[in-house]
């Protein structure tokens, strides 16, 4: 069974204080790893897809990286509007499109 574990559960940062969120995964063949952002009362908003170890993607203050066992979401000089829950999810090579989500990291950025 696919498993996704995210850490930490919650993270509080000062504005401008860079940090990283971790996503460890166990799948029977990785088809893709996704990062989403979820604001309270909203659906997950797509950020990145990573397909193979060594791949990196960037968007504004966010950078996602992937190894064979984990992914990191690096947040550089965060702003208060980056406050949200960040979700990691995987699709395995045998599943048609079933996405397995982690429980997320709740990020709070304080001005």
């Amino acid at each position: 069974e696919d498993q996704v574990t995210q850490s930490p559960e919650a993270l509080r940062l000062q504005e401008g204080e860079s940090s990283s969120l971790n996503c460890s995964y166990t799948v029977s063949g990785l088809r893709g790893l996704f990062w989403y952002r979820q604001d309270p009362g909203k659906g997950p908003e797509f950020l990145f897809t990573l397909y193979s170890a060594g791949e990196e993607k960037e968007k504004e203050r966010l950078k996602a990286t992937l190894t064979k066992k984990e992914s990191f979401l690096h947040i550089t000089a965060p702003k208060p509007e980056d406050s949200a829950t960040y979700l990691c999810a995987v699709v395995n090579s045998g599943g048609y499109q079933k996405v397995t989500f982690g429980t997320g990291t709740k990020l709070q950025v304080i001005p």
Binding site: P44, F46, Y51, V91, Y96, Q97
Partner: protein, 113 residues
Amino acid sequence: EPEVTQTPSHQVTQMGQEVILRCVPISNHLYFYWYRQILGQKVEFLVSFYNNEISEKSEIFDDQFSVERPDGSNFTLKIRSTKLEDSAMYFCASGGGNNQPQHFGDGTRLSIL
């Protein structure tokens, strides 16, 4: 930017009643999904739908659940006889194809009394 829309945003239903949740996926997408998120828990896969049939479903998606694409734009989730434990946020998502990201709606909050 195209988006997935869901209605209603909040549905309150008596236990044992049938409920239908509605979704309009992104128009050129071919794959459709339902997920649920119980308060404080992770997002859980329910079912995927492609080419007018279920392509994959989880153990949560039992005989009480069904999905349908009644026309070219809507995608629905029906729960035949609701239980208290069906109370959750239900998300619809759509995607353009294999390995393509899924785009989510803002959900329907289902409250069973």
